[in-house]
Amino acid sequence: MKITIASGKGGTGKSMVAANLAWALSQSDRVTLVDCDVEEPNLHLFFPPDDPESTDVQVSIPSFDNSRCTLCGDCARFCAFGALVVAKDRVLFFPEHCHACGGCALVCPAGAVTEIQRPIGTVTTRHLSAHLSLVTGTLNEGEVLGVKVIREAKRCAAKPGWLVCDASPGTSCPVVETLHGSDFCLLITESTPFGIHDLELAYSVTSCLGIPVGVVINRSDGKDEDVRKFCNERGIPVLATIPFDRWIASVQGSGDLISRVDPTWKERFIALGGACRSSVGGT
């Protein structure tokens, strides 16, 4: 069962829900938690520090052989991302614009382009308990190809059991990449007008991808009528409501998980996982 946790904007408590859900489910099942917010991964902060294994994520980038290059300009004409400029005496390459599509090597009539590997990020695996692992994708600063790191993190995380992916906030390419292959998506929202607007954006993405969703209302002040109305009209189940509560805030503030310190919350998150599973018709 693959669940993605998403929200239309940052700061809704998405990571908190992901970490609690994964921890609660891991009390009885095998769970892999994947931090796909590769620009600012933070899930490891909910767990005690340990000794993780990291591997580099590499992309193929072009390398130009000046002695073969005839300065014909085909590569720069082909490159859709403006990563190449053919100057009077050589090809200039701007690696931060390169999307590693391999096209320039294909179109070069002189065989002047070869591909070399360049690291753009890392994937780190932590074994948090016998049943719970955390796979974290991290994009190096200044890099643009976050989707490659997400893809690699998900590949490393592909194991039996629950897969809980924490997407980056928003609705851009990295979120779509995270959602790809998910059975279900939990959308985290707050009961403010802005929250509903962001929820609507996120929901439009999951509908396009045909992924069933459920909503979790976080930091609820009890006045959730508008969110519930929005969900009712679209047939979206509201699967959990987490109140705005000083105790919850203080547990989170100390880097802990409410499901770890309070058995009631543990049961609620286990029930949330069960609700996700029954929403997609599983048992």
């Binding site: 720069a76 403006g82 053919v86 100057a87 005496d89 200039l92 701007f94």
Partner: protein, 111 residues
């Protein structure tokens, strides 16, 4: 000598566009023949790399100097490698004709 001015429109009375890669037009003026041509910047709306793409356009058109308000790092590197001088023209609300006059006076600062 050919100079290029990024512009909002195709005429020399149109305003200078302060964004090099995103300017909708490039006006190329030949200081010897006094001829002026307008080119649509076909990559202005591209997702990324508009600076290097615009630099490539200037290289392909044999431009010697670019007169612009600002230019990004990659575009600047590409222009320099191609031997194109970059001259800063920071008068707000000026027309392409004003920029050409300023260039001809010869007191623009080189970046």
């Amino acid at each position: 000598m050919k100079i290029c001015i990024p512009s909002r429109g195709p005429e020399i009375q149109d305003l200078v566009d302060e964004r090099f890669g995103r300017a909708p037009y490039f006006i190329i003026h030949d200081t010897e023949s006094k001829m002026t041509e307008a080119h649509v910047n076909s990559t202005a709306g591209a997702m990324g790399g508009v600076g290097p793409k615009a630099a490539q356009f200037l290289l392909n058109h044999g431009v010697d100097s670019l007169v612009t308000e600002r230019v990004g790092g990659n575009a600047l590197e590409a222009l320099k490698a191609g031997g194109i001088r970059v001259l800063l023209y920071e008068e707000k609300g000026s027309t392409v004709a004003d920029a050409i006059t300023a260039f001809l006076k010869g007191n623009l600062k080189e970046q």
